[in-house]
Amino acid sequence: MRYQNRLIVGGFFFLLFWFNLAEAQGFQVNFQGQKQQGMGCAGSALVQDASTLFFNPAGASFVSKSQVNLAITPIFGNVMYVDSVTNEMYRTENPVGTPLNFYALIKPKRFHRLAYGLSVTTPFGSTVQYEPGWIGRFAITRLSMKVFHIQPTASFKITDNISIGAGFVFSPGSVNLQKDLPVQFNDGTFGHAEISGAAMGYGYNLGVYYNPGGFLSAGLSYRSGINMSVSDGQVDFTVPEGLAPNFPNGSLSASLALPSVTTLGLNIKPKASWNIVADINYVGWNTYDTLAFDYATNTSSLEDTKSPRMYKNIFAFRGGIQYAVFAKDKVLNVRFGGGFGFSPVPTGYLTPETPDGNRAYFTSGISYEFNKRFSLDASIYATKITRADTNLETQLSGTFTTIAWAPGIGINYNW
């Protein structure tokens, strides 16, 4: 038995390093379920709670009870930039990010093959704020992006083992981007630009789930790409009076293509108290090829901008293990996991607003069932990303190192 367990643990790590288990990248946030977060953000095929509405809508009809689930995961992210030309070092002063998710899943008593529900999640977004006077100030000083996905969902068991599910995604959001302008007041301070606006987008979430209730279960899901469009944004310039005619405040439009995510999930249950999960993501980042701003009023100094981003599609692999410590009453679950992910940002296109790179991360988590109705989840995630690049557009050349911590907590209530 001891030998067997070692084999499983060893096998897991073999997989982890062989396949480069990973998570998705860019400004995607993968904190949509505490139980999954404990297992390397994998677990779309291990349906345990209402968060399956996000991970695989088909899993909803396999949840045994109606449930509400609320969780929050503060992100403590620190970025350090070391300029390769001047050796100068700058840091971010990011506020704590607060991705949250709310799930409500209803199991109608009379139609046990059916489930429906609503999820509110924040699968994209970030706030990056660099210290004052940093060397990349003309590229960005602050970017705050928030995206909410509001997803009404229905799931149906076709057979006892196979279900399908679909959700429609409303995606309101907001963006605030600030940078300094390379024009100077008489006292030497730089001009400043602030772009802000509300965005809206639509998409859908589809899934199919197979669970014969034994050694193996599997799921396949597809979340569509969403084009977030800012139709009535506002740009405000702070520039010397002598240049004010060149930088007219006014409206602007822009759009941002959020990528599609295809997920294949597997769950293996070698023994009653063990689950081994693995997810493979394919993220369609290549829709993010340009960040364009279309100003309502153009001047010789203020032309519409088209900054190339050239993101590429990536695979992301994640994996984890769940172990029920007190197996008899299934009261306490402990989890761990991790991954490794490829960056969608190609060489020459790394920007300070998303200082992304290939990343490895580790997570662990715990769940405790107080009673049949009420349970609590907690997780912790940690990663370190290092990426050196010279941006072709800005010529900013240096190394970004990011350390991010994300402890999360969630509550579940069943009935």
């Binding site: 030309v85 390379p182 100077q184 010529q395």
Partner: protein, 453 residues
Amino acid sequence: MKRQYLYILFVLPLLMACKPKAPTHVVDAGTADFTKFIAIGDGHTAGYMDDGLSLDGQRNSLGAILQQQLMMVGAPALEMPWMSEQNIGLSVNGLSRLILGYKTDCQGISSLSPVRVSLQGETSALASSAYNPSKKHSNFGVPGFRMIDMVSTAFGNINLPQHNAFFARMSKDQFNLPGSGNYSSVQENIFDGGSPTFCSIYLGIEDVLPYARSGATQHPMSPLAGFPGLGFEESLTQLCEQLSSQNVKAVLATIPNISDWPFFNTIPYNGLTLDAEKAASLNQIYNPIGISFVVGANPFMVVDPNAGMFGVRPAVPGEKILLTAPLDSVKCNQMGSIFPFRNEFVLTTEELATIQLRIEAFNAVIRQKATTYGFAIVETGGFYDKLTTGFAYNGATLSAKFVSGGAFSLDGIHLNPRGNALLANEFIKAINKKFTAKIPLINALNYNAILFP
């Protein structure tokens, strides 16, 4: 056993620091010794900009910015012939420096334009000496300093009309007995009280620039040949000889193609914009001698003694109309059309070719001396070519465009602080390469460009 494994994995995410740790960098002087560093050069090295020498300009001079960075590897603190805190500035013609302000033209239209900061320049700076025997200057940047002035004893001789007042105020000559008639050269000042260990030498621009600025009408270019003090080559050779004999290492810089600078490129040759009425009236005057005008852009009319019996012709592509051309007269008094631009406002293609040839001849000498004496060499032409094309620098775009380009000062000739910082980086790259030093480059965004009201 099994559970112990599990707990180790469980705490894995906790085994990490909260913030990325700052790296340490190796900074090294290599085979060079900067403990007695001296910057030698013309107005660029001195901090002449916006057509004036001022305290702010000095602090942001090529020489000062370079030396400040070299202080990381042992260079001494800056000692310059400082101007006053008032920052009025002093031009070579006794005027104050230029700033960007509002100017009302002859048509009553007010717009942003370079204007003088005050009625009079900081002429008081020339009334007192800036020499201090206990604080040797580390910057021998002198506005108007030519290569051939290096050993000239007339250069600092205040009794001669051709002396350079900027040098005279920093020379050790103030301790000469009155009327003794002994005046020392720049080179004597440089070696006064011990030789330097390292020199940056950026000379040669002033050997050609005054000629170009005058529209090739005055201030002949320095000859290549001739004894030290007369010819370019031997003036440089004797300096290199003395440096070499004292084991002084140096970085030399070539002369950029000055005709690419905004002073020569801001007013286009065809900048005469006409409406139908003006074009018709000019056609009445010029059609009889075979010159016609169209609505829109036309070449300016220029004086050319060789152009037929009237000695006027339209400017041709490639010719430069200088920034000294009186634009108010163009707008209101038919300058450049009925009254053609005089020669002093124009560089013809032949004149440009002559200047170009001389620069190339000087540069060949500079490169050869660098090789002979084992000095580092800065190819400034490459730097200015990049500016002419325009390039991105940490998210800002810099170019050789007047005012908006962000690298040249308001005189269209000298760089502004940010431009100087970028050029100083070229010096550091050359030093790093030649002397296997590890000196980081300067963040030029920490230096001002053009300040707007």
